[in-house]
Symmetry: C2
Subunit: 152 residues, 2 copies
DNA sequence: CGCATTCACTTAACATGTTAAGCAATTTCC
DNA sequence: GGAAATTGCTTAACATGTTAAGTGAATGCG
């Protein structure tokens, strides 16, 4: 069997970990996890979203998002209100405090990203991202666990 | 701020998830998680290893590995014995049952990997892996949380 | 209308990720 | 030789990943 440490999943895992290692300390200083940061960033780009849509954007599973939103709401970093038209839906938005927190983290985060880009090379980085996107696309067609496309 | 859904961490996360989606169902059929599978594969390649070395190989943190080894030992898929020379060290190896389980999963796993390679293209895949390795390397120099190199 | 189905979200249960603390065996250094 | 530091591993505590089940609201349809 192929040396698993050179398999694609391991390569992707190690690469991602190498990247996230750079960011985690800065986030930690502000009491944020990687996933909480993703949610705040997703929310900062829009006015308000439904939970399901937010899950897709932040790439989190429903149950994880449910828990995190509960905690972020308790910390007054986000706000929720149920939609008028459909009581099942809950609209999530970032709070003033949330915006303030983002503002205090963003510069540091941007600096780290810039350094990574500088070291790896902007062109190479773009190339890499394009390949990752292509991989994702070609596997999306293939499907996988509970793929909604193939089951229609 | 840059659209975070196009950031490098997100690209890596989505790509990896797209890949793992293909494998998880097969592993699940045999009652294995991705991490347990990584450990068995790492063990299959050698006679016996120390826990710390296994953690490095399977890319798992100590505490995670500790728990998983406890469970795999309870399922008789691995074996442990403390080293004679140093009572702190524990040597881990795969059991006969473990080998048998691997043999029953490996063909399926290999087939999935082959299909991914076929769809994405072997050459492109090699290129991608090379870029991932380069990224990892260039960030390793940069360091990160609790980096042992920079602290010596 | 009424009832089964679907939908949006939450809870539950278990496995892992992550950091800090604990513990015993070993090594250092005087 | 022995106290202090280090090492190898485990536990603890909390956050998230993952799948299944639960709950209340909306929808489809007879």
């Amino acid at each position: 069997m192929r040396d698993f440490s050179r398999s694609l999943p391991m390569s992707l895992l190690r690469a991602r970990e190498a990247v996230m290692r750079q960011f985690r300390p800065a986030l930690r200083e502000h009491g944020l996890t990687e996933q909480q940061w993703r949610i705040l960033r997703a929310l900062a780009a829009i006015d308000a979203v439904e939970v399901t849509e937010l899950a897709r954007t932040a790439f989190l599973l429903g149950p994880s998002l449910s828990r995190i939103l509960r905690d972020l709401e308790a910390r007054n970093l986000i706000e929720r209100k149920t939609a008028k038209a459909d009581q099942r839906r809950s609209m999530v938005s970032i709070s003033k405090e949330g915006v303030k927190l983002m503002a205090s983290v963003a510069p540091n985060s941007e600096a780290i990203y810039a350094e990574i880009t500088r070291r790896f090379g902007a062109r190479k980085l773009a190339e890499l991202q394009e390949m990752l996107g292509a991989l994702e696309l070609c596997l999306a067609e293939l499907g996988g666990a509970d793929d909604t496309i193939a089951e229609g």
